[in-house]
C-alpha cells in the first residue's frame, strides 16, 4: 500500500469502516449534446483517499464536478450519504462536501484571510455572519496550512504554491469531511507539489477527511493515495490499490505509454518509468 513517505502518517491512521459516503451510479455526463462520461460507477468509502488519473480531456474534472453537484448528470445519479445529491439542498451539500475547482479565481485584492473566511459561508446566515466558531475555525485553518503570516496578503499576489495552500485552507475552513480537489498541484514545482500533497495527506490522516484528488503525476498519486481510479475517454478503466492499477498493461491501455513499473525506492509504491509513447 501507500503513504509511507519519510515522515508520512502511520498507515493505520484512518481506516475506512466501509461506509459509503459518495457514490456514482450509471453516470452519464454531457455538455449540451456531447457526452463526456458514460456509464460510470464509483463508490467512495468513509475515510478513504482516492486519486483519479487519466489523460487530458478524459473527463476527470467533469466527473469531479458531478460528484460535487456542480453538474447535473444526463443519466444516472450521485448519492451523498445514500441520498440523491440532486435532491439535496445546495447548502446541505456545501456543508458535507467541499470542492476545489481546477483553476479557481480569486477576485483581485481579496486577502488570504478573507478568502478562507468565505469558506464559512454555508454555515452563516444573515443574522449569524461571523460567529465565534467561524473565527476559531478560520484561524485554525490558516495556522494549520501555515498561512498565518500571509493572512493579510492579497491572494492574487501569492506564488502558485502559496495560492494553492490558501485555497486548501478555505476548503478546510468549510469544515466538510468530504473534500474533492481538482489538480491541486498544477503549476507547482516538485517540492511544492510534495508540500501540497503532504498537506492533503495530513488532512486525510490527521483530520480523518475523505479525500478525492485528481492528479497527473502517477508516481505521486501512487505514493499518496490509497486507491487509484483510472479513466480514459469518459470510461472508468480500472480502480483499486496503486499496485493493482498501475500496471504496464494499464499504462499502455490508458495513456498509450510504454513504461516499466518499478518499486519506488522511497515509498515502495509503484513507480512509472516511461519508455516511449505508443502510436494507436
Amino acid at each position: 500500500m501507500t503513504t509511507s513517505t519519510p515522515d508520512a502518517p502511520p498507515l493505520s491512521a484512518p481506516t475506512s469502516d466501509g461506509r459509503v459516503r459518495l457514490a456514482a451510479e450509471g453516470l452519464r455526463l454531457a455538455y449540451d449534446d456531447r457526452v463526456v462520461v458514460e456509464g460510470l460507477d464509483l463508490t467512495l468509502t468513509d475515510g478513504s483517499f482516492t486519486a483519479i488519473v487519466g489523460p487530458n480531456g478524459c473527463g476527470k474534472s467533469t466527473l469531479l464536478r458531478a460528484l460535487g453537484r456542480l453538474l447535473r448528470p444526463a443519466a444516472g445519479r450521485v448519492l451523498l450519504d445514500g441520498r440523491a445529491i440532486q435532491r439535496t439542498p445546495t447548502r446541505d451539500v456545501a456543508r458535507a462536501l467541499g470542492l476545489l475547482p481546477q483553476t479557481p479565481v480569486a477576485p483581485a485584492g481579496l486577502t488570504v484571510a478573507d478568502l478562507v473566511a468565505r469558506g464559512r459561508h454555508p454555515h452563516q446566515s444573515w443574522l449569524r455572519q461571523w460567529s465565534a466558531e467561524d473565527e476559531a475555525v478560520v484561524a485554525e485553518a490558516l495556522s494549520w496550512t501555515d498561512m498565518g503570516d500571509l493572512a493579510d496578503r492579497p491572494v492574487d499576489e501569492l506564488s502558485g504554491g502559496q495560492r494553492q495552500r490558501a485555497w486548501i485552507s478555505m476548503a478546510l475552513a468549510q469544515g466538510t469531511d468530504l473534500i474533492l480537489l481538482d489538480e491541486p498541484t498544477t503549476y507547482l514545482d516538485l517540492s511544492h507539489q510534495i508540500d501540497v500533497l503532504e498537506l492533503v495527506a495530513r488532512l486525510h490522516a490527521e483530520r480523518g477527511r475523505t479525500v478525492v484528488v485528481v492528479l497527473h503525476d502517477l508516481n505521486l498519486a501512487a505514493r499518496y493515495a490509497q486507491r487509484l481510479v483510472a479513466m480514459r475517454d469518459g470510461v472508468l478503466v480500472a480502480s483499486g490499490t496503486p499496485h493493482e492499477v498501475l500496471t504496464e498493461q494499464l499504462l499502455a491501455d490508458v495513456f498509450d505509454l510504454e513504461a516499466r513499473v518499478v518499486p519506488d525506492p522511497v515509498a515502495g509504491s509503484p513507480m512509472v518509468v516511461p519508455v516511449r509513447r505508443l502510436r494507436r
Binding site: T90, A94, G98, P101, P107, G109, L110, Q124, E135, D152
Partner: protein, 369 residues
C-alpha cells in the same frame, strides 16, 4: 445576553498596490454576529455627513439666496410664505431627487460590477440607461405623430423612460443568459444593446421637430431642473423597497465574486442569486433614470471610487450608494451656483467622469469588481 466587541489589528500588506484591509470589528449579541472593517463603516458615515451638508447648502443657494437660519426655520415648520414655497416645494424635492438618484445609481453600479466581476459592467455601458433614453426620446418626439407615438406621449416621459430601461434590462438578461450569467458575455451583449439604442435615439432625433429635439437632448443629458415632489415621491417609495433588497444581497455577492463552481460549492444557488441581483439592479436604474434622466458615469465611477476608499476586493454597497448621493448632490450644487448658467447635472458628472475613468485605466493594474 452578552455583547462583545473586539477589534483585530490587521497589518497593512507590505506589497505596493495591495489595499490595506484595516481594522476589523466583530460584533456579537446572542445569536447575532457580524464583522465589519472600520473603513467600511467610516466611509458611509462621512459620505452621509457630506450629503447632509451639501443638501443643506443647496437648500439656501440659487436665484434667491436664503440664509441658513431661515432655511432651518422653514424646515422646522415656521418661516414666511415665499421662502416656504422656494425651500419646500422647489428646492427640497429637487435635492431629494438628486440624493436618491445618486444613491440608486451608485448602488446599481456596485451590484452590476460585483456579480459580473467586471468594473465596466455598469448600467451606462450595458445599455440600460440607453434603453431609457430611447423610451423618453420616443415619447418626446413621436407624440402627436403616429398612433404608437400617441400612446407613448400619453405615458409621459418618465414612464416611457422606465419602460425603455426595463425593456433593455429584460433584453440584456435574455440575450446574455445561458444557464447563468457570464460577466464577459453580459458586457458584450450590453455594448451591442447600447449601440442599438444609440442608433435608435439618433434616428428619432433626426426626424424630430427642432424644439422636441432640444427638449430630448436636455433629457438625455440627465437633469434635475424642475424636479418636484411628483418625481421625488415615487422614487422614495421604490427605493424604500429596493435598497434593503440590494443590501441584503451583500452577503451572497461576496461569494458570487468567485467563479460559478466555487460559489455553488459554497452553497449558493448561482443562477437564482444572479437573476435576483440583476432584477434589483435594473429596477434601481430604471426608477432613477425615469426621475432624472441618465446622469452619466455615476454608476460606473462611484463604485470604483468607493472601493478605493473602503479597501477590500469589491465595491461596498452602502458606501457606493452614499458616495453616489454625495456626487450627484455636489454636482447639482455646483451647476446651480458656481457655474455661469444652469447646466444639466449630467454634463458635469460626465466631465468629471470621463477623465477619471481614463486615469483609472492608465494607472490601474488593479480593477476590483
Amino acid at each position: 445576553m452578552t455583547a462583545t466587541v473586539s477589534t483585530v489589528r490587521q497589518t497593512t500588506p507590505p506589497e505596493p498596490g495591495g489595499r490595506p484591509a484595516g481594522r476589523a470589528v466583530t460584533l456579537r449579541l446572542g445569536p447575532v454576529s457580524a464583522r465589519f472593517r472600520w473603513r467600511a463603516v467610516v466611509v458611509p458615515v462621512v459620505a452621509s455627513a457630506v450629503v447632509v451638508v451639501l443638501g443643506a447648502l443647496s437648500l439656501g443657494r440659487g436665484d434667491y439666496p436664503i440664509g441658513v437660519g431661515d432655511v432651518l426655520r422653514t424646515l422646522a415648520g415656521a418661516g414666511e410664505q415665499g421662502q416656504r414655497f422656494i425651500v419646500l416645494d422647489l428646492r427640497a424635492p429637487r435635492i431629494l431627487v438628486g440624493v436618491l438618484v445618486g444613491a440608486a445609481l451608485g448602488l446599481a453600479g456596485a451590484l452590476f460590477q460585483t456579480f459580473a466581476r467586471n468594473p465596466l459592467a455598469s448600467p451606462d455601458v450595458l445599455g440600460i440607461t440607453q434603453g431609457a433614453s430611447v423610451g423618453a426620446v420616443a415619447a418626446i418626439t413621436l407624440s402627436g405623430g403616429s398612433s404608437a407615438g400617441e400612446l407613448l406621449g400619453g405615458l409621459g416621459v418618465p414612464l416611457a423612460a422606465l419602460a425603455g430601461a426595463l425593456g433593455a434590462g429584460a433584453l440584456l438578461f435574455t440575450l446574455a443568459w445561458r444557464s447563468g450569467l457570464d460577466g464577459f458575455r453580459l458586457v458584450l451583449v450590453g455594448i451591442a444593446l447600447w449601440s442599438a439604442g444609440q442608433a435608435l435615439t439618433d434616428w428619432l432625433l433626426t426626424g424630430a421637430q427642432i424644439h422636441d429635439a432640444s427638449a430630448a437632448y436636455v433629457w438625455i443629458t440627465g437633469s434635475l431642473n424642475a424636479r418636484s415632489w411628483d418625481q421625488a415621491e415615487p422614487l422614495l417609495l421604490s427605493l424604500a423597497v429596493l435598497v434593503p433588497l440590494a443590501l441584503a444581497a451583500g452577503r451572497v455577492l461576496g461569494v458570487l465574486q468567485f467563479g460559478d463552481d466555487t460559489a455553488r460549492g459554497l452553497g449558493v444557488r448561482v443562477a437564482r442569486a444572479q437573476g435576483a441581483v440583476v432584477v434589483v439592479a435594473v429596477l434601481l436604474v430604471a426608477t432613477a433614470v425615469a426621475a432624472a434622466g441618465p446622469i452619466a458615469f455615476v454608476a460606473l465611477i462611484v463604485p470604483q471610487v468607493a472601493v478605493r476608499l473602503t479597501g477590500g476586493s469589491r465595491p461596498p454597497l452602502l458606501a457606493s450608494a452614499l458616495c453616489g448621493a454625495a456626487l450627484v448632490t455636489g454636482a447639482d450644487l455646483l451647476t446651480r451656483t458656481v457655474l455661469p448658467e444652469a447646466l444639466p447635472v449630467g454634463i458635469l458628472t460626465a466631465a468629471v467622469g470621463a477623465p477619471y475613468l481614463l486615469w483609472l485605466l492608465v494607472r490601474g493594474r488593479r480593477t476590483p469588481a
